[in-house]
Structure formats: structure tokens, C-alpha cells
Amino acid sequence: MRLLLIEDEKKVADIVSRGLRAERFAVDVAYDGSEGWELASAADYDLIILDLMLPGVNGTELLRRLRRKGCNAAVLVLTARDATQDKVENFEAGADDYLTKPFAFAELLVRVKALLRRPLPSRNPVLRVADLEVDRLSQQVRRAGKRIELTSKEYALLEYLAANAGRVLSRTMIIEHVWDQSFEGLTNIVDVYVRHLRSKVDDPFPTKLIRTMRGAGYSVGEDGEE
């Protein structure tokens, strides 16, 4: 999979490209619009990550030109602006997804993978983490063969964690996926739900699956699994 990152902020470009390379993507980096245009014209990319605030050229304009030229790559737009009008304008210009700065790298990765239609850790209807089973069809949860009753929010939270097993999910990501943006940043709602989830999923068992990564968020996985 070949990715093109067009980002004028060198440090942001470094972090993103480093992280993506660690995930075994081939990443080319362009630090301005014209370089991005040249690279995108020369090679066939699967995905372009495009920062909108580029020196010299407007990111949205660049995106339009790429689409007119027949570029089929999925495009993920990075921006510091998150007004709905901007979003609409960029979707119309041909963007496939949108991510607002500042973002957690994990979130970027989830979106990149979704855009590339690369299967997320599991598309299997039954998610398995150690002896935990999450059945996405019947929405039933078992651990060590024993059925665990969860409320719908608890289930949604556990499914999101299990589907991204081994990955640290930030509170912001969890809120956006399990609740909605209105809850962002204001409540300890994630912590409360995780505590309730733990009391049902972890407390009765010797091995703990839900881990807290201070400052980063939560993850589900067996100890040692990364």
C-alpha cells in the first residue's frame, strides 16, 4: 500500500509518516502543494493524506485538480478548521474523510485503514480476545463460556475496544464512536462506563483484559500483547 502525505508542517509530517511506516505502509511525503501535485501525478497512490493549510496553494483547490485529472486515490483531509461548511466544501471537492487537528495518531490510523478497506483487526462476526467472545450478530458476550449481560452502551463500548484489540483508544475516540461529539471532553462518562464494564467482564476473572493507559486511553488485550 502506497501512501502520499502532503503536509507542510514538518514535525507533523514526521510523526504521521513514522507511525504509518511502523504499520508497514510505504509513505512518500510532500512538504508543499506543488511537490504534492508532482508526486501525485507521477505515481499511483492508494491514499493521499492532505493537509488543507498549505503554503502557496489551497488544499481544497489541489484536491479538485487531482480529481479532475482522474486521480482515484482515497483522500483523507487533515485540517485545523472544523466548521461544517468547510467539511461540506471538501467533501464536494472529492475528499473521502476528514480529520481535525489535533488528532490522536490511533484515530488517524483507524481512518486510514477504513479508507483502504484493509480489514480492521477483525471483520469476523465473533470477536475473540483471550477467553472473551463478542458476538456481533447476536450482541452476546461470553467469557470463559459464561454469558455476561451488558447494557447496550456497555456492549457498544466493549465491541469497539475488542474490535481494536491491542490498540490504545483515546477517550475522545471512544466518545466519538460510542456516544457522539456532544459529550466530548466534558464528562468522565467513559471512565464510568469502563468501570462498570470491568466489574462485569474483568472482576469475576483472574486475568484482566481491560487496561488503562494513563493519558492515552483504554485498550483490551491479554497482558503482553501489543
Binding site: V12, F105, E184, L186, G215, A216
Partner: protein, 478 residues
């Protein structure tokens, strides 16, 4: 009427000046009139006395005292003319005394004998019965043989007194009428002159931070009030510029902070992944990440507010049921309350339609409920109610929490304001929750207000305009 208002004071001073002016004028005319009338009577009496001088000097010797009296009566008939004449010698003995007038209006004999005057001519007043007065004039005469006489003439002051009484009546009736007319006119004038001030004040009061682009009406009169309203308008413009500058600054600053925050976060996140890190180091980095997260929330809150304040919230304007939204949100937050053993109740029986940005208004409910739960001790209660009142959608959140001290109450909607810094920091949050609520409400043409009793609880009330009833409801069944 406000006794300290300019209108009242102007009118008061005006009335005072007018009353004293009229009063002085009345007294002055009264005195002058009386003098002039009395003077006229006195002059005619003195003239008569002078006419008697040659008669006295020339006829007394040939005629004798008795005939002299008859001569006087024949010539001047004082009894028929209501006049008084008395001629006395220096020793006080009376040479001649006129008879009482025909109508018996006074008795000449009862008038007091004269004190010998020093001046050649003088006058005095003597009281008569029934409050009447008589004016007496005296004229000294020295006969060639050395005898001295005093000729007194007099006339009752009845006419003068009647005129003065008429004048007093006229003043007594005329002055109040004049005062009333002048005051009425003054009131109309003052009202007309100060009317524009009232209008300027009323328009100035309507202008707040949300409609600073409005201006006061400028009366095209060329007077001080035009200057005042123009000056006020200039001031409002400077305020508007300052406010715009501050909003732009917040928007720019929060925007500029995004990229460094992304870098900071990305670097630390990748650093945390390093397996060689000790647990202690990982913990420290986690703490740094928490602060980055906190900072991110502040930046996003500020940015969201600057956009709301700039009126950029109208992009997702839809019609929806606030009651239903509130009930669903309360449901989503039920566990938060349950976790603290707080009873969360919701009275929202549907059908309270408003227009606006759904997710923004949901944020209002989330922030208010979160606040209520945060500041209510375990075993307390939080209630949420949505209803339509007088054409407004009203959303209320009531808690049994620690409350807000009265002195802090007016400031709780300010950015970063915290009642108790130490405790709030521990509770989390960026100190922007309520100011975001206020900005969202303002962007939806509504308002939010709070009342509170410390240790009893707080009450937040959000008021939004109801959506206009839809005429066509094609999707509604039943």
C-alpha cells in the same frame, strides 16, 4: 414619577422660580397701587387744606369763629362730601370741626386730637369703626399776628380699601391660574426637549454584545442630543471593534495552537510506545498526555465559542423536538448519575419543537447535566424538565447540590470562571462548559440563567424560541 429625574428637577426649579417671581410681582404691584391710590387721596386733601388757609387768615378776624365755620360749610360742604375738616389752635382747642356726614359713616368728634406736627404738611391714618380707615392730613398755618393753627382735612379710605381688596382677589385667583398654565407649558417643553434622551437610553439598553452592530437613532436636530447620540455611537463602534478584535484573537490563537498540540501529542504518544520505558516514566508521560488532552479541550472549546459568537453556528439548522433530545440525553447520562447514587429524573413529554443545531443543543443538555451531577453529592437528586411556556421552549435543570455562592452567581457563565479553583481542577473540565452553554443559547436566539441557594442546590433555565408550527406535516401519521 422619579423625583431625581432631570425632567422633575427642571420642572421643580422652574415652578419655584416662577412662583417666587409672580409672588414678588404681586407684592410689588400691591404696594405700589396702594401708595398711588393713598397718594391721590392725600393730595386732594392737602389741596383742600391749602384752600382753607386764605379763608382762615383773611376771614377769621372779620367774621369771627362762628361765621368762619358757616363760611367753610357753605363753600366746601364737608358733611355732604363725606369729608372731615378740623381746625385747631396750638393749644389743642378746636376752632372748627366739620359735622358728621349725612350718611353718618363716621363721627368727626371721635377722631383723636392731633399731636402738634413738626413738618409743615403731614399725613396719618386713623382707624374708624368696622376696620375702616380715614386718611388725615395736617397743614400748619402761622397767622401774621403770631397765632398758629393746624388745618386737618380727611377722607375715609373706603374706595382705596375696596380697590385693594379687588386687586388682592384678582391676584389670588389670577396667580394660581397663571402658574398652572406656565407649568403645563413648561412640562410640555421639558418633555419635548428630554424625549429624545429617553429614546436614546432605551435604544442604548437594547444593545448588548450580541447586537453591537446596531446603532442608536440620531435625531437630526443639530443640538446637544444629536451630538450625544453620535458620540455614543462612536463609543459603541469602538466597543464593537474591541470585541471583534478579542474574538478574532481567541479564534486565531486557538487555531494556531492546533498544530503544535498535534505534534506534542504525536511525539509523546509514540514515545509512550517505547518498550524500554520504565513504568514510572510511562506514568509521567501519561500525566503529560493528560495535560495535552486538557489543553486540547480548552483550545477546542475556545475555538467553538469564537465560531458561535461570530454567528457561524447556523450551518446545520433543523427543526426538532427538544423534549425528545433532552430525554434521550438524560438516558445516556443515567449511568453517570447512578454511579454517584444520584436520582436523575426527566420530565419531557414530547412536542417542544425548536430550530437549531441539534448536536450543539445536545451539548447544552450534556453540559448542564454533567455540571449538576458533578456538583451534587451522593444520594442527591438531579431533575431535567422541558416544556413550552408562553411561546418559548424552556429547559430546566435542578439539582440538590452544593450550590453557587451569591457573589459568584453573576460570573459563572464567564470563560474560565471557577467558584473554587482547587476543587474544580480536581473535578476536571476546562472551565468552559457553562460559557459554551451561554454561547450556544445566544447563537440560538435564546438565553440561559441560573439561580442557586448554597447547600440547597442550583437551578439552570434555558429559554429558546419555539419553532414556528409547520403547516404541512406529510410524514406524520395518526
Amino acid at each position: 414619577m422619579n423625583t431625581r429625574s432631570l425632567k422633575f428637577q427642571l420642572l421643580g426649579w422652574y415652578a419655584l422660580l416662577l412662583a417666587s417671581g409672580f409672588g414678588l410681582l404681586g407684592v410689588a404691584t400691591y404696594v405700589a397701587l396702594e401708595r398711588s391710590l393713598t397718594g391721590a387721596v392725600m393730595d386732594s386733601q392737602l389741596r383742600r387744606a391749602r384752600q382753607l388757609v386764605p379763608l382762615l387768615l383773611e376771614q377769621r378776624q372779620p367774621l369771627g369763629d362762628q361765621r368762619l365755620g358757616e363760611e367753610i360749610e357753605a363753600r366746601y360742604a364737608p358733611d355732604r362730601n363725606d369729608r372731615f375738616v378740623r381746625i385747631s389752635r396750638e393749644d389743642g382747642s378746636v376752632l372748627y370741626l366739620s359735622a358728621p356726614p349725612i350718611d353718618q359713616s363716621f363721627d368727626p368728634a371721635s377722631l383723636p386730637p392731633p399731636a402738634w406736627p413738626s413738618a409743615a404738611e403731614s399725613s396719618r391714618k386713623a382707624p374708624l369703626l368696622g376696620g375702616r380707615q380715614m386718611l388725615l392730613t395736617s397743614h400748619k398755618v402761622q397767622a401774621p399776628e403770631g397765632m398758629k393753627y393746624l388745618i386737618e382735612t380727611g377722607a375715609p379710605m373706603d374706595d382705596v380699601q375696596a380697590d385693594m381688596r379687588h386687586w388682592l382677589t384678582f391676584l389670588g385667583v389670577g396667580l394660581p391660574v397663571e402658574m398652572a398654565l406656565a407649568l403645563g407649558g413648561g412640562y410640555v417643553l421639558v418633555k419635548r426637549a428630554l424625549g429624545p434622551v429617553d429614546r436614546i437610553a432605551a435604544s442604548a439598553e437594547r444593545i448588548s454584545s450580541s447586537n453591537l452592530s446596531e446603532r442608536l437613532p440620531v435625531p437630526q436636530t443639530g443640538d446637544e442630543l444629536e451630538r450625544l447620540s453620535v458620540a455614543l455611537n462612536h463609543m459603541i463602534q469602538r466597543l464593537e471593534e474591541a470585541l471583534q478584535y478579542s474574538r478574532r484573537f481567541v479564534a486565531d490563537a486557538s487555531h494556531e495552537l492546533r498544530t503544535p498540540l498535534t505534534i506534542l501529542r504525536g511525539e509523546i504518544e509514540s514515545f509512550v510506545q517505547d518498550p524500554r520505558l520504565t513504568a514510572d516514566r510511562r506514568e509521567q508521560l501519561g500525566s503529560v498526555l493528560e495535560e495535552v488532552e486538557h489543553l486540547t479541550h480548552i483550545v477546542e472549546g475556545l475555538f467553538a465559542m469564537s465560531r458561535l459568537d461570530a454567528g457561524e453556528a447556523q450551518s446545520e439548522w433543523v427543526r426538532f423536538d427538544l423534549a425528545q433530545l433532552a430525554a434521550a440525553t438524560a438516558d445516556q447520562m443515567a449511568l453517570l448519575a447512578e454511579d454517584k447514587k444520584i436520582r436523575l429524573s426527566c420530565v419531557a413529554n414530547g412536542g417542544v419543537w425548536v430550530e437549531g443545531d441539534r448536536s450543539r443543543l445536545k451539548q447544552v443538555v450534556v453540559n448542564l447535566l454533567d455540571n449538576a451531577i458533578k456538583y451534587t453529592p451522593p444520594e442527591g437528586a438531579v431533575s431535567l424538565a422541558v416544556k413550552a411556556v408562553d411561546g418559548h421552549a424552556v429547559l430546566e435543570v435542578q439539582d440538590t447540590g452544593i450550590g453557587i455562592p451569591a457573589e459568584a452567581l453573576p460570573r459563572i457563565f464567564e470563560r474560565f470562571f471557577r467558584v473554587d479553583r482547587a476543587r474544580s481542577r480536581e473535578q476536571g473540565g476546562a472551565g468552559l462548559g457553562l460559557s459554551i452553554v451561554k454561547s450556544i443559547c445566544a447563537a440560538h436566539y435564546g438565553r440561559v440563567e441560573a439561580t442557586s441557594t448554597p447547600d440547597k442546590g442550583s437551578h439552570f433555565r434555558v429559554e429558546l424560541p419555539l419553532a414556528k408550527p409547520q403547516t404541512k406535516q406529510p410524514f406524520q401519521n395518526s
